[in-house]
Symmetry: C2
């Protein structure tokens, strides 16, 4: 397949292999932002950008950028990219596949001596994953001028975030002026991190929207009774009540998922107290991670939840405080023009494509606050991600890179 593509699949494979080798020994694949390994990965990327004829720099936010000047720079910058950091014990493709695919587009343009009117930038955003500072999407947030000033003093060990940004070559003092005015359009390729494309034998997902992420904390408070002596009908067992809540949340989410628009809700954090063998649990604190492509779904879910916990509290004789929305982000639709451009690009390279939402958060959601932005997914095996068995076939990544290549050419003619 690759021989017909406007990009070179072998080069992509070579770079992905090279980055995979830059990992904590015994912890494949770990290359956390701000670590020495992260610097090593960027040193490799920078060299490859230079070899592709790109002019490299680190912006004030600590993003690594490779630039190819266009004939009419006043048209603005077409930007492609993703991130090179990983979660601990993560995968070989999450993030880095998008950086390498973007780089390959620049190389392919060079190979074919294609000059663009627009400037083109390939970007490796700083710290997309939740970093040692407890926050994510640092580079892409900063590029929109929306990195909260207060975050700069978050610490991890001896380092604060300002120091971390300075260490990677950024300038934390001038972040406030980082809002980029020149981006004509942004595209990101990413592995799907879900099972849909593989199951439906599609090559490319055109991402209609990046789901909003809403986190809701709920505390269920019962009574710590002696497990041996307290009759079953005289208990206020927080774990029993919370278990019912977990099932009800799953069912409510499954119902919303059957209506149009991606919806998911997951109880991922769940702690019980006192967590002792012979004590009836007195307290459960759980955290719901909700994802909605359609904002009204999330509002319906939260409304349902507020009413439901009251009923549960009565039914199980426990206290449940009003659910606490600890964070709440709106869905981010992909730019309609870019979605059409991407579809046309898929057709041009013969990629089977479908529209779908992204359940996961991405740098694209930040850049979309600033400029037309969209993203594509390539399939990954069994939807596995953020774990060592994450896998994407190189041909699928190369086909995605080819879609980016065609889309960039089309964006440049606008």
């Amino acid at each position: 397949m690759s021989s017909n593509l406007p990009v070179n699949a072998n080069r992509i494979a070579e770079d992905i292999e090279a980055l995979a080798a830059i990992t904590e020994p015994g912890h494949p694949w770990t290359r956390r932002a701000f670590s020495p390994l992260f610097h090593e990965g960027r040193t490799y990327l920078e060299a490859r950008m230079k070899a592709a004829g790109l002019e490299t720099r680190i912006d004030a936010a600590g993003n690594l950028i490779g630039r190819r000047t266009g004939r009419k720079p006043w048209l603005g910058t077409i930007m492609l990219g993703s991130h090179s950091d990983t979660v601990p014990d993560g995968g070989r493709f999450d993030g880095i596949a998008g950086v390498i695919a973007a780089l390959e587009v620049a190389r392919a343009l060079g190979d074919q001596t294609i000059e663009l009117d627009h400037d083109l930038e390939i970007v490796d955003f700083l710290a997309e994953e939740v970093s040692i500072f407890g926050v994510s999407c640092i580079g892409s947030r900063a590029m929109t001028g929306q990195l909260p000033e207060s975050w700069l003093s978050r610490v991890s060990g001896d380092l604060d975030l300002a120091g971390g940004i300075a260490q990677v070559g950024g300038e934390p003092g001038v972040l406030a002026q980082q809002k980029r005015p020149d981006i004509a359009g942004f595209l990101e390729l990413h592995i799907e991190q879900g099972p849909v494309l593989e199951a439906e034998r599609e090559d490319i997902g055109i991402v209609t929207a990046i789901a909003g992420i809403t986190r809701v904390e709920i505390a269920v408070e019962g009574r710590a009774d002696h497990a041996g002596t307290t009759p079953m009908d005289r208990r206020a067992d927080a774990l029993v009540a919370a278990s019912q809540l977990v099932l009800d949340i799953r069912n409510a989410a499954a119902e919303l998922a059957r209506t149009p628009g991606h919806f998911a809700a997951t109880v991922g954090e769940f702690r019980i107290e006192p967590n002792a063998a012979n004590v009836v649990p007195s307290k459960v604190v759980l955290l719901i991670d909700g994802r909605a492509e359609i904002r009204a779904d999330m509002e319906a879910f939260c409304r349902w939840l507020d009413g439901h916990v009251e009923k549960l509290a009565t039914a199980y004789g426990v206290r449940i405080e009003a659910p606490n929305r600890v964070s709440d982000n709106l869905p981010t639709p992909g730019d309609a023009g870019l979605l059409s451009t991407l579809e046309a690009a898929c057709e041009r390279v013969g990629a089977k494509h479908r529209r779908m939402a992204s359940g996961a958060g991405h740098d694209t959601a930040w850049i979309a606050k600033l400029a037309p932005a969209a993203m594509i997914f390539v399939p990954c095996r069994a939807g596995r991600s953020h774990c060592p068995d994450e896998w994407a076939d190189n041909d699928d990544i190369a086909l995605g890179a080819a879609v980016l290549f065609e889309a960039v050419r089309e964006m440049d003619t606008d």
Copy 2:
């Protein structure tokens, strides 16, 4: 009330106050076995035993014993007692009420210059609660010759259990010969640690049996998928399956509790993995604490559980290994003769009494392997125990001590 009793309620109150004062500052009421505070408590108890005319010693197992010689020592020893150690942040009555009540019986016999035919021993068993060595009922187990040799090398910090027993004055080297051949009968007074006596306005519970304690561990294994991207209908969520299991266990236990004989089952320990906000839980390990007065109930419960987890695993697409009985103790019936003796004693002092099981484990369950043994419960407020708000009225304890007094006199005539 107390003026008519053969025991002195004020002395009981005074001793319970004195012991309550021997607690970790800021952590009422904490007097863990092997701690300096535990030694301090025993120093007080020993002085009070001596003041009551008892001859004190520490046996090889580290039990503190006060002895009153009888006229016909060849008849054997009537033993009364409980334990002076507490759980961390425990209560003022659990254990110590039984030691003080026993001591008061000896004092009351002395006051009334009553000589017994049998020897009488008041015992403070070493480390009834789960101790720093992770095991419970050390002294009472050892008195039956059933403390596993291997336990002596269990460590906590710099100390092993053998060293701990030596520190309190025991002789860990001769534990194997500790099986006491001379106990004619044993009685223990304890707070109920449950809400039944208070709710039913009874003074004394005559304990028909100490429930067997069975601990069952179950591991539910699902798949750690991305919480954002994995459709609701493609998950193997270990927490969802485990939540259903918690509810089913509760319902099965409640049903068995409605048949004759005490039954309870509690999921008290529950840990999820990876416990991360945006990851579908891959694993839950839970521990069931089951209590059965009637062994057939526990067998029925475990049979049901074995079959049920298989069905759940299929229904929820997870793997559940066969439930693992990590520990399993049979119920211990109270000695039938002593139960009648105790009932007669209740009648004599005008105490309203009922037969009931003990859902909690006690030293009595060990001594019963060796000699006729039984116990009585006194009410405690709202069933609270193992926590600072544990409370028992002094008059109730005094009434219980009076029941012991009458029972001892009756046992002595046999």
